[in-house]
Symmetry: C2
Subunit: 255 residues, 2 copies
DNA sequence: CTTGACCCTGACGCTGCGTCAACCCTGGAC
DNA sequence: GTCCAGGGTTGACGCAGCGTCAGGGTCAAG
């Protein structure tokens, strides 16, 4: 007669595993000897080996009991189901690997290539790290739930950057953002540049940029993001309203 | 300001998940409003999206905090480690799939092809279902820890079956095993056949079969298996000893 | 008699939340 | 004002398959 340790050793499992199988009713509890030790015969070794063999094939413990008692048809069904589960799990992990490879490839963990490209352009024209991070967060917000608008929006933004006035705007914004958060002296300057750009675009009939985006995109949330990162944003919005433009991320004529 | 439900909806996760991230310190707890509700700003949405993006790539939550704060080098190391983990897990599952396919292919869940072939031969010569299962369990025991002895042992057994006396022995054993477990009338007949076969093999200088197997194989355990399946086995061992042979699974001369 | 190696039960830990329970708060309809 | 649905709050258990203490008792050898 074997002790639990010997049984476990024969089957190549841990003592804890054997007790676990007892607990869940997968392996019947054997007789006890005078001192309360479990005593096993050879049949228990065979049963345990069967359990481990099937478990090693990826079958959940809860189904092993049924499988070992099943006839050929039931067994085939069960095997097919298990195999499907395994395949799905493998595919899930494969997808994970691809995604993590993408994350590792880009310098940003969470953004697609076109957005990081746009951010790189901003860095090239002298936008500060601080502002870049703000921009990036805004794009993260949009990319998460409305990725289909990203290519068009990025294309529009890149076109904007060909206009020297936009480049100047970003540089001024960058300088101000990096300065004292309480210093509001240059806000009118910024508002003037922005209003000028918008007025010209409006006059040229381009409409506002937001038209191509749907109303479902939460511009107020992105505005809030900007306001959280710099306390002067609300004041700037006020100045823009004075100049006939309402909003921040998406600006519209106040008629 | 967003409620927890709105935050969760923006990021595409459940409310419970958000609370979980708070609990493990992955997402900082926000301010509460007058009635104790959590109130989130846009920054929380961004933080949550970052978390989910990395988590969806298979990174365990416990490491996401570090990853999002890591520099490029640390990040590359972390990504490589995660990727290795994923690869290993995938390989494990692939092995599981192969094994389960094998299990499904054979009629037996736990034995290799050569053993099932041997068992099929036994069935062909008329061995009963009951005895087959006993044989099978014995082979399971050996195959589990000493698989390297299986091919040789099976080959020897198949050779044995070419001897009509062995075939006769198995048939008689089969009949007796299927009969009343208390009926000991045919035990001497069995013992005579076995002793005859062994004596002839010994005289022919073949030695005992067990010599090719190592002493580490637990013959007593397999003997015990036989004894558990039929109470007459001990009596049969006794009869064999009277005829000069000791043991059951492996029989040796008592000199 | 001690010592080390086993055995016993009971319980918590891990992962990433899902799913109650029991209760409070809010906003719109009546 | 009142009602109700549909939010929110904390606290707790559950899931798979054991690992790993804690705090005992037992066995075999020196």
């Amino acid at each position: 007669m074997l002790t639990i340790g010997q049984l476990a050793a024969y089957a190549g499992v841990t003592v804890r595993a054997v007790r676990h199988y007892h607990q869940i009713g997968l392996l019947p509890e054997p007789e006890r000897d005078a001192s309360g030790y479990r005593r096993y015969g050879a049949a228990a070794v065979v049963a345990l080996i069967k359990i481990r063999t099937v478990a090693d094939a990826g079958v959940p413990l809860s189904q092993i009991g049924l499988m070992l008692r099943a006839d050929a048809d039931t067994l085939a069904d069960a095997v097919e189901k298990i195999d499907n589960d395994l395949r799905e799990e493998i595919e899930r992990l494969e997808r994970s690997r691809k995604r993590i490879a993408q994350l590792a490839a880009g310098d940003s963990l969470v953004l697609s290539a076109d957005v990081t490209c746009y951010l790189d352009r901003l860095r090239e024209i002298g936008v500060s790290q601080r502002m870049l991070e703000g921009e990036r967060d805004g794009w993260i917000l949009i990319a998460a739930r409305w990725p289909e608008y990203i290519p068009g929006a990025i294309a529009a933004k890149l076109t904007e950057l060909e206009n020297p006035q936009f480049v100047r705007l970003y540089r001024v914004l960058s300088e101000v953002a990096d300065g004292d958060p309480a210093d509001e002296s240059r806000l009118p300057e910024i508002a003037d540049i922005m209003a000028g750009l918008l007025d010209r675009a409006y006059a040229a009939g381009e409409g506002d940029l937001g038209e191509t985006w749907r109303d479902e995109v939460p511009f107020d949330l992105i505005d809030n993001l900007a306001a959280e990162s710099d306390p002067r944003v609300p004041r700037l919005v006020e100045l823009m309203r004075e100049r006939g433009w309402d909003g921040w991320t998406r600006l519209r004529r106040t008629d």
